[in-house]
Amino acid sequence: MNIKRENALVFWLFLAPVILAFVVVIVVPFFLGAYYSFTNWTSSARADSTVRFIGLENYIGSFKDPAFTYSFGVTVVYTFLNVIFINFVAFSLALLVTSKIKLRKIYRVGFFLPNLIGGLILGYIWQFLFNNALPSLGAVIPFLSDLAQPDNFILGKPATAVIALVIVGTWQYAGYIMMIYIAAIENVPAELHEAAMIDGASPFQRLRAITLPMAAQAFTVTMFLTLVQSFKQFDVNVSLTSGGPSTMFQGKPILGTELLALNIYNTAFLSNNLSMGQARAVIFFLVLAVVSLIQVSINKSKELEL
């Protein structure tokens, strides 16, 4: 056995446990799932539960369901808002805690903390804030008395409930993204800033001409993470709104803030239609893969090489 072959063997041996796990829990279920989306599989002991191949029926049925198309739309809106909000807030926070402000280490920890709380619990905490804390505040402070009106409850209308999801999503995720921005900002060579200052550049000019282009690599990563995270949002959605309140779409009453992941779950387990849920998951995967590939290639083209 020569050295090269031996190295290759060791390489694959060390990789084997990970590859095995990856194949068993990702690759196999993925293709099995794709297969089931073309069948009438229910995973239950119904009298007529033999698995039959039914072609594209699940896919066609999904696009005919107003709840699914609406869910698609609301997820796109939510993702768009969420990506902008999270990155804006995270970058501002990163600038703040990399400046010479006092207690900046403590701020870093504080901003990061919400990310350590589970999404379900976060949702319930914020549900309490929106439904109880804000209205009580409105009842005490005359200036905010509108908040105490049940008609104005943030979770009471679909449009504002989506905003509520964005607020909670940002609160949860901005700290994490902030950490990535901090690393990027601190990696900008100090001599660039010094040279710019000698030339008389204002802080804003330095931000625009030095910090932002130098942090472009971080933007590729953060945009990707926030995009995927927002698209896949599930736990906060379940606990904060459960998909409510209801709204009308194509003449049918449907759930107004049901994001795609929740719609897939509800289709599979509330409607007991596992194979259609699986079909929606495949559509979900394809859309997310295409969108994130486009995003990464656009971001990559803007990165700088020193």
């Binding site: 539960s49 009308m248 509330l270 007991n272």
Partner: protein
Amino acid sequence: MKKLLLVMLVAMMATSLFAAGGSEAGAAKAATLTIMQNKPEIGPQLEAYATQWGTANNVKVTVKSIGGTAGAMGPQLKADYAAGDMPDIFTFDGLESYKEWEGVVLDVSSEPWVSKTAVAFKYNNKVFGAPVAVEGWGMAYNADLLAKAGIDPKTLTNYAAYKAAFEKLDGMKAQLGINSVVSMAAAIEMGWVTAHHNFNSLLANGLPYGDLSVVNDLLAGKVDATRLSEYADWVELLFKFADKGVLTTGNYDSQVGAFATGKAVFLHQGNWTDPNIQGANATFKMAFAPHGSMKKATDGIFVAAPSFYAINKDSKNLAMAKKFIVDLVNTPAGHSYMVEAAGMIPAYSGISLQPTGQLSKSVQEWSAAGKVYSWSQYYFTGDFRDKTLNPIYNQFASGSINKAQFIDQMTKALVANKQ
């Protein structure tokens, strides 16, 4: 030397894989019984009883409690079914979920407990489920507040009586110290209150127990416009006199809390709220009054078994699974678990213990008087109730549709549901 190391490495990895497979096969030999049930609130009590029972019968019993809103236990059961790891005993709530598991539910018609209960789950004249308990709901009322307002709860049997009472109570808000007359919830996460329980008033109120005429008509897409319009009046009345915050965005805690703290006179819930109300240190007298969903008097509340134990036909321990349920019904320890530990109303005769909760007692009184109506909501699929009806109630509650639109949407939904 290096070669030897490599061979050893390969050998170690291979054996560790086999070892992992081997140890599991060895552990499966001891007699085990797995129970999956949908009431996490009584999970610890059932576990304690099952462990005690298991020690006495030399069986290792595992209790899995998975609850929450509709379909909560479903995903786990489906995963276990796909994995070939179904529990020996599991609970289901009615016809639609029975159909989901038809292929594995054992026919228990010849079990000794069948003659002791009136509410076993039957299908095609065979018994398939042992009732877990008896539950009931109606309009729970705060008797002290009603007495203060001079309203006799016995008169509350139809729409007109409720309307008069609600209007009178609404005018005495400050005097009674209440925020609203009814504590009602219609947020999406509370869809089981509207689209399951309240919906049942349309299906079963005023009909003889077990009468499925309205259900069958609706399932066939035939909507009785008069019945539906009377029902819509009732829903409107409940929504109109409810606290709007609790109604549109509140959860279970805020709904039950408003009643328990005396901020609402009526509560649209069932006797399962007893422990929550006791937990809030409520001291007032309370009981159930009938629903007023019709013009005619309907003197009874909705009482039935909320779920049933099914025995898995393919269980390796069929005899033990059967014995578990027989012992639950026949032994003092079983009685003590059901009534004293779990606080449930027993569904079987020959049990002398009584639950202590006021609302549970009220259910027993209505039941003893024979003034009961069925639970028929489970004849409709979870999909229809949660994804079609729930949004309609939610919009009616938030005011985005009016009563005429509510009736129209309900009619459309029921016609479209025709099978």
